[in-house]
């Protein structure tokens, strides 16, 4: 019994162990990895993917899947850039970007939960269409000339902690609280765990499923706002395949693609792990080709552990 528990603990925290091991190895190979400036880099680099991953987490836990968040980041980033050029207070581009993201998410959610479309198809469609919207609103060109104040959002820091990470931490705290403490959070897990069971238990599964896509869209809108501030321009081609990184962070962090399973701390580790791999390999000057291989292997191994860890019930 006790042995089984230890085994269970190891499989549950396996990804954390991998993460620690990776940090140790990287530090030994390149001591500058652990230098404060680089740790700040890692926090900055993890932030946008982290926020996206938390939105994605809601969708995946509820049994869905969202391919459109990368395009949504680009589209909302363009909107934020257009509105961030003049003297408007920064709250305007922020709110507009988040509302636009919310709208995309609602459309996805309605298509999946009411239109009964497979999430993959629905969000593949919106991924393409929203990318088109981004190109259309920007006329295919990067939007330059955003205000100094706007640029400062991502560039500034509070007590040495980059502002981007402050946003991430706020998102993490809210999401973790909602998922673990609220009735809504419990029901998100129930929908993904067994949609039929949730329905016969009297849960409004349609509303829950739509809301998870809406959350993913809302957070993608926030990322669009931050992304434009970080790169100082609005680019219609930005955030290409960011949805894949967000999904990877979730899956690596133990969120099951079949729904119903996943812990916030796992996603935090998942997205730190991805960032650390890219950052560490950059620092060591390893070619980007190798980075792709390493990332791919880690995804497959993580999912393998996820699948094997679940003793299939007969």
């Amino acid at each position: 019994m006790k042995q089984k528990n230890i085994k269970g603990l190891i499989s549950e925290y396996f990804i954390f162990l991998i993460f620690i091991a990776l940090v140790v190895v990287l530090t030994c190979l390149k001591p500058s990895f652990i230098a404060p400036t680089n740790l700040v880099n890692i926090l900055k680099q993890a932030s946008i993917n982290g926020i996206l991953a938390f939105g994605m987490m809601f969708v995946i836990i509820a049994g869905g899947f969202d391919m459109s968040v990368g395009s949504t980041v680009a589209f909302t980033g363009i909107l934020a850039a257009l509105l961030g050029k003049g003297d408007l207070p920064l709250i305007v581009p922020l709110v507009v970007a988040m509302l636009a993201g919310l709208a995309v998410g609602m459309v996805n959610g309605i298509g999946v939960a009411i239109g009964d479309l497979p999430p993959f198809i629905m969000t593949l469609g919106s991924m393409t269409a929203v990318r088109g919207l981004a190109l259309l609103t920007s006329n295919g060109k990067p939007i330059t000339g955003i205000s100094k104040e706007y640029k400062a959002v991502a560039a500034s820091s509070i007590a040495g902690i980059p502002m981007l990470s402050v946003f991430l931490v706020i998102v993490i705290i809210i999401c973790a609280f909602v998922l673990s403490k609220t009735v809504y959070g419990r029901r998100v897990y129930a929908c993904g765990g067994n949609l039929q069971a949730a329905r016969v238990s009297g849960i409004n599964t349609t509303a829950i499923r739509i809301s998870t896509f809406a959350i993913a869209g809302l957070l993608a809108g926030l990322c669009g706002f931050l992304m434009t501030s970080r790169v100082t321009i609005g680019q219609p081609t930005a955030a290409e395949s960011y949805e894949m990184d967000a999904i990877t962070a979730c899956v690596v962090g133990g969120v099951s693609m079949t729904g119903g399973v996943g812990k916030p701390w796992g996603v935090v580790i998942g997205c730190l792990l991805i960032t650390v791999i890219a950052n560490g390999l950059d620092i060591m000057g390893v070619s980007s080709h190798w980075q792709k291989i390493v990332k791919g292997v880690i995804i497959v191994v993580a999912v393998l552990i996820d699948v094997k860890g679940k003793t299939k019930k007969n």
Partner: protein, 497 residues
């Protein structure tokens, strides 16, 4: 108040089908009331109306606790005190016991989930039921029977006055059935009424007080179980004598045509089973769900890796690495779940029938639609498949006709040995009869048939010999002249210690 629940004059029409035609149900407080009838008789539809999953047609009424009862979803039904334990169990495997008990009705404190209160309450309920699990345990780690009990606890926890149990024993062992019955008795002692749906006669007579019978969407009658016997019930259910239900054609039994020796599956779900079947013979395989019956035939058919075992077709040993190897030798397997492994539901009837024997339908190496259509027409007639045309989309046909299409598709390949896994599950009485007759005709032609079924009367009616499996082993074999329901049930649970 004599009745806790009265459903009067209830009808339900689906597009093209009258699923319920002015039926009724009266349930007294504290009784176990059996609902009986063949599949498609309308029991499930009636219960889904009770739970608010379906809306009844206009007219008719439901009286619960002396009050008119209108619900539009399961939550409202539960709020009234009506709960249902579904046939396909609905646990959320990755959630803990307490989360499952309170899903949809979470205990709140300041608007948030009060997990502590839920755990404490769950602990109390679990103890009352004599179950020994931690409320924090994930359902994935429980047995099917434990999950079943959790569902019952869930029903109790909402203070249900009526609990519907749909086939609650389908997946659990005899000992667990006893445990379940104890719980049912303690519930009825407190005045809770149980509506019990089951096909198992022995259970009906041992636990139920009264029974209502339905057939083809009509209410047939009700009575006290102590005044009824099995034959009377079956007659009420099927509307004719049992010999008509299972027609048996005479066939000459010949040489052994198919033999499997000492089949052990790599995943150990089958632990050394041998079987053989002769020309002209229908061999039945009985046992409980999970006894390894489907696993055995799927192993033989090359769908799963075997740790050991030899397979002989017409005296010749066949090395089976994949289904293709054994299909070539003239063996066909008609799988259990026709929607997943048997049919392309969005394809036409013709396309489906042509799927296996496609090589016969070629001309100059290309698929010949006319040949396929002709072949398909032949089988539509032969098997009495009710479809407007061969171009009809298979998904639009009834379960019985779909099943016939699966069989047709294999017959077109002209197999000598036909293995069928639960061929009559979920199809109506008429279609069942057609299929039994078809099996009889096939063995008359000198073919051999192996049929898996969970319905013992069906096996006894159709087969020449029944082998019974239990927990991956062969627990015994019964010849037709020695058939008895008790004998087979005993063998099915034999290895239980």
């Amino acid at each position: 108040m004599e009745y806790v629940l009265e459903m009067k004059d209830i009808s339900k029409t689906f597009p093209g089908v009258k699923a319920l035609d002015h039926v009724q149900l009266q349930v007294k407080p504290g009784e176990v009331h059996a609902l009986m009838g063949e599949n498609g008789a309308g029991k499930s539809t009636l219960m889904k109306i009770l739970m608010g999953i379906y809306t009844k047609d206009n007219g008719g009424e439901i009286i619960f606790n002396g009050q008119p009862y209108h619900v539009s979803n399961p939550k409202e039904a539960m709020d009234h005190g009506v709960a249902m334990i579904h046939q396909e169990l609905n646990p959320i495997l990755d959630m803990s016991v307490y989360e499952n008990i309170f899903v949809g009705r979470e205990i709140r404190k300041n608007g948030l989930v009060d997990a502590k209160a839920e755990i404490a309450e769950a602990e109390k309920l679990i103890k009352e039921c004599g179950l020994h699990v931690s409320p924090k345990e994930k359902l994935r780690n429980l047995t099917v029977a434990q999950c079943q009990l959790i569902e019952i606890i869930k029903a109790i926890s909402i203070n249900a006055k009526v609990i519907v149990m749909d086939e609650p024993t389908a997946a659990i062992t005899d000992r667990e059935v006893e445990l379940l019955f104890e719980h049912i008795r303690s519930l009825t002692a407190k005045g809770v009424a149980i509506i019990y749906i089951s096909h198992r006669m022995d259970e009906i007579f041992s636990i139920c007080d009264r029974v209502s019978v339905y057939r083809d969407g009509q209410y047939i009658g009700s009575g006290d179980t102590k005044d009824l016997d099995e034959a009377q019930l079956i007659k009420m259910m099927v509307g004719r004598e049992i010999t008509d239900v299972f027609p048996k054609l005479e066939a000459k039994i010949g040489d052994v045509i198919f033999e499997a020796k000492n089949i052990v599956r790599a995943d150990n779900k089958v632990k050394g089973v041998s079987l053989s079947v002769r020309r002209g013979e229908i061999l039945g395989i009985g046992g409980l769900v999970g006894a390894g019956r489907s696993e055995l035939v799927e192993g033989i058919f090359g769908m799963h890796e075997l740790a050991s075992g030899e397979i002989f077709v017409k005296g010749k040993q066949v090395k089976v690495h994949s289904p293709k190897d054994i299909i070539k030798e003239g063996v066909a397997l008609i799988t259990e779940d026709r929607k997943v492994t048997g049919l392309n539901l969005s394809g036409s009837v013709n396309d489906n029938i042509a799927m296996v024997a496609i090589k016969k339908l070629l001309s100059h190496g290309l698929y010949n639609k006319n040949k396929a259509r002709a072949a398909s027409m032949e089988y539509i007639k032969k098997l009495n498949i009710k479809t407007p045309s061969g171009d009809q989309i298979t998904g639009n046909l009834s379960g019985g006709n779909q099943q016939k299409i699966v069989i047709a598709k294999w017959l077109l390949n002209d197999p000598d040995v036909i293995i069928l896994d639960e061929p009559t599950r979920g199809i109506d009485v008429g279609a069942k009869r057609d299929i039994y007759l078809l099996l009889g005709k096939l063995v008359q032609q000198g073919k051999a048939v192996i049929m898996i079924s969970s319905e013992i009367p069906e096996l006894m009616g159709v087969c020449d010999r029944i082998m019974v499996m239990c927990e991956g082993n062969l627990s015994g074999e019964v010849q037709r002249d020695a058939f008895s329901q008790e004998r087979i049930m005993t063998l099915a649970s034999a290895i239980e210690v």
